[in-house]
């Protein structure tokens, strides 16, 4: 079941179309990566989900029915441009933001005390936000985003402003949230973290979705049947051992081994490669070169005629 769906959502600004018939489906209890270059329309889509702005056309479904104003109490949003009132006490401010999300005074107080305890930041309650470091502020910010235990969480560039220690802490928390049943929409430029965390993605470029599906299947589709081999005791050109339909893309050597990248024709398997090489060389390792999300991102975005691809 999809917790959230956008169906051909269009948003037109004076001179440019921020979103052009964008459709995405976010399955329940997954981490969904919303990717795309700067200015592609990610933030516009996220703001539409949060009902900060309204789409010109298209439908929005939340838990199978049209998105309503009250649903914001079930959504938590950590915007890219985020901050807190600098002159306000941490505790008061957290209480304020939690109550704006619909928690009662009592509930907000109880939950915040619990989370402050958990993060070991009890002593910050009466301190002003401006007295905290940037990283500390981010922790508080994260906390108030999830305090109302939303079903759907939206993080826009959550790792910006975090040091490596806090980044890994945050990743753990995100995974824990998923564990507890939440769905996370996650917008970032950091492809490594996409690889690490995301189950599904949608790639938006120039206001359109150009690629979407599960990370595993997308990677499969972008396979090029390329393998890297490490071998030894052969000094000549590797290409001379292989059939002409096998393409050696790159050769290199270090002190112990020689390495090569070989692209196989679609009907060939790594066994064919090994058979061709085995009589003449000693093979140490063969690996399939699986494209990274980074490669896929660049390839999809720089394609001349982007075709919408849904890979399931």
């Amino acid at each position: 079941m999809n917790i959230f769906s956008a169906q051909s959502v269009t948003k037109q600004y004076a001179h440019h179309k921020a979103l052009d018939k964008v459709s995405i489906d976010v399955p329940e209890n997954c981490i969904f990566g919303l990717l795309g270059p700067n200015g592609a329309g990610k933030t516009t889509l996220i703001r539409i989900i949060n009902q900060i702005i309204a789409p010109d056309e298209g439908a929005l479904l939340f838990m199978g029915r049209p998105l309503q104003r009250n649903d914001i109490s079930m959504i938590g949003y950590l915007p890219e441009e985020r901050g807190l009132y600098k002159k306000m006490n941490v505790g008061e401010q957290a209480m304020y933001l939690a109550q704006l999300k619909g928690l009662s005074h009592q509930d907000a107080n109880k939950r915040l005390r619990m989370w402050f305890e958990k993060f070991g930041i009890n002593s910050w309650w009466n301190r002003k936000v401006e007295e905290l470091s940037k990283g500390m502020q981010q922790k508080v910010q994260f906390l108030v985003t999830i305090i109302h235990e939303p079903k759907l969480l939206i993080f826009d560039e959550p790792f910006s402003g975090f040091d490596p220690i806090n980044t890994s802490l945050l990743k753990e928390e995100i995974l824990a949230l998923k564990e507890n049943g939440a769905t996370i929409i996650f917008s970032t430029h950091n492809m490594e973290s996409v690889e690490e965390l995301c189950d599904d993605i949608a790639l938006i470029n120039r206001s359109k979705v150009i690629l979407s599906g599960t990370v595993r299947n997308i990677k499969k589709t972008f396979r090029t049947n390329t393998f890297s081999v490490s071998y030894n005791t052969f000094e000549g050109e590797l290409q001379s051992l292989l059939p002409s339909s096998f393409l050696v893309l790159e050769e290199s050597r270090d002190t112990d081994h020689r390495h090569a990248q070989v692209k196989l024709p679609d009907d060939a398997t790594p066994n064919d490669l090994l058979q061709a090489m085995m009589p003449s060389v000693t093979i140490y390792a063969v690996n399939e070169r699986i494209p990274s999300m980074n490669d896929i991102f660049i390839q999809a975005v720089t394609q001349k005629n982007p075709q919408t691809a849904t890979i399931s």
């Binding site: 900060i52 702005i53 915007p79 009132y85 933001l97 704006l100 910010q141």
Partner: protein, 457 residues
Amino acid sequence: MKKIFLIIQREYLTRVKKRTFLVMTVLGPLLMAAIIVVPIYMATRTEDTKHVAVVDESGIFLEKFRDSENIMFHYLDKDIAAAKTNFSKSGDDALLYIPKPDVNLPSNAILYSENTVNINITSYVRSVMSKRLEELKLQARLKEYQTDKDKPIPVDDIMRSVKTSVDINTLKIGQDGRESKSFTELNMVLGFFAGMMIYFFIFLFGAQVMRGVIEEKTSRIVEVIISSVKPFQLMMGKIVGVGLVGLTQFLLWVGLTFGIVSVVTGVMSLNKDVKKPPVEQIMQQQKALNPASAELLMKQKDQGPGGASVVMEAINSVNFPVMIGSFIFFFLVGYLMYAALFAAVGGAVDSEADTQQFMLPITIPLVFSLVMAQFIIREPDGPISFWLSIFPLTSPVTMMIRIPFGVPYYQVALSMGLLILGFLFATWIAAKIYRTGILMYGKKASYLELWKWIRYK
């Protein structure tokens, strides 16, 4: 609804808890008291003795105006037309005319003078007249009870019914005999002061709204909040919250100012007493007839205006409920309208340094209405005054300047109605600019840009 209340609460509490609020609350009344007391004190301090001629057509005030420390009265037997013609040659400072009443007792009088009438004279005349009228009314009422000695006297009821206020119109009489309306210094001071206050309050608290919006933008909290509430709720919450701070401050000021003024004037009145008319005489007569009525007269004596100082008398002559009521209306609605515009400016810019270009159209009408204040005071019923007090952007300041001089009700109603419309329109425009502007970072907006934002769906 609960959320907007939370926003109002936060905006209110964070400001009221600030130290600057406390400082302003204490300093404001001192300043205001000085502004009220000093001119009145100056106006009452006349060095030389004033001469007032009296034409009393009613005949009931004969020999009642007694000379005081620096006011000398003399009665004329002429009719009023002759008195006016001779006025400029007579060397008198003022001419008091009490017309013959149509029925019952007179309740108004006219003071003619070549210059603005001194507050001392107006207050003294008013106090003597109302005192005399109350005496007469009381005697008339008590006669009803003389025939039947056992009939109980409704003391409080009678006290209330005899209370009399006297209208004194002041008219300027030129060398050529032409008459024009004249106003006491008090009207001018109050009008100008009220206008100033409105101007000051709108600027002070309007700018606070703008600064609050910019703060939310620069601290980047705005998007966090509008994922929970609508931009309009955030904007109105801020405007209302800050407005309540302004209202709190104003009410505290009024309270404290009255406190200070009454203490100061109380001290002043110790040596500035107006002479008391001889209530005791009537009291003696009544005592023989009915002991209860004597008690009544004792009360009247205590409550009568005779003991009040001139300054207090002058202040009492102002209709404070109307003044304060209309001040609160024009302050609140004027503030609401301007605050919405200030909020729009705050939403459109990235920092306070960028506000200049958008502030101009807001500040010009406000500053203009204050600059025009001196013309309005000189001619509070003229066409300039009328139009400025009708146009919503200038009416809060201008109308408050006019109100102490007396403004026809239909004009006040028209002005209030248009101001409410202005407020609704300003809020509608501002909300559109605001909701787009707050999400724009690092982009310098132009007027063209704002126009586009207004037209967004």
